[in-house]
Amino acid sequence: MLLIHCPCCGVERPEIEFRYGGEAHIARPMQPADLDDHQWAEFLYMRTNPKGVMAERWRHVHGCGRFFNALRDTVSDRFIAVYKTGEPRPDSATASGEGAR
């Protein structure tokens, strides 16, 4: 079982306590009514889906209940970094191994 470090609890916890929350850093448009259908579809559906490091939202749903962000390598399933909501995305080169197991 994967162990995930929760930045709010400050501990590693088993994967089953967490829920995946999709790609991180996707801001909802301030004025959705100003968007055309193509732009709205881009916001709703289009994701980067990288082969490699991806910034994701996770929720410690069976723990502290909070959302946080994580950098995960989609090839190795390795967590490279975890950081609280609102904090900037860390540089994946310098953050190697933090919060990962």
Binding site: R13, P14, H62, G63, C64
Partner: protein, 191 residues
Amino acid sequence: MPDVLFHTPAETLALSPLVGAGTSLRRAALLVRFVFRGDAAAAAKVGAAFGVALPQSPLASERTGERAALWQGPDEWLLLARPAMDGPQAVDALARSLAGEIAAALGETPHSLVDVSERHVALLLEGPGAADLLNAHVFLDLDPAAFPVGMVTRTLFTKAEIVLWRTSEQNFAIECWSSFAPYVEGHLAEA
């Protein structure tokens, strides 16, 4: 030492003889429970009114004899209080008076205070086999170095969400939803 918070346990539940005679499972009597959510300033006011400081560090608990404040999240606490007498009427009376005192202390401070007294039951798993028995269903490191006395956390007990609180080296309180209690008790009895 008998635990004054959980007092006269109402019911002793069966465990497998393989667990050993020194380990027991009991369903604690009724308690007043609140879920409080608010920022640190609101938490400080609640702590003063409740008589137990609300811990700010993750996974921490604070208690006096008959009351406890358990950290649940960065702005969320579970408050436990034992009524002076047994029975649902005493629980109801204490819940009302505490809610009034806390609301008065908070005034206009934004917060949420929810009475969940009857949502949970407390199961007391105590004795030298308690940690091993829990580890059949709880996927946490329960070594005292990793999960010291006083640590409290929400986690999963197989498929049921529980609040696990280590009240002493060999004693655990399991707060679970009333409707999940037979599931948790059954799994502990079979482990």
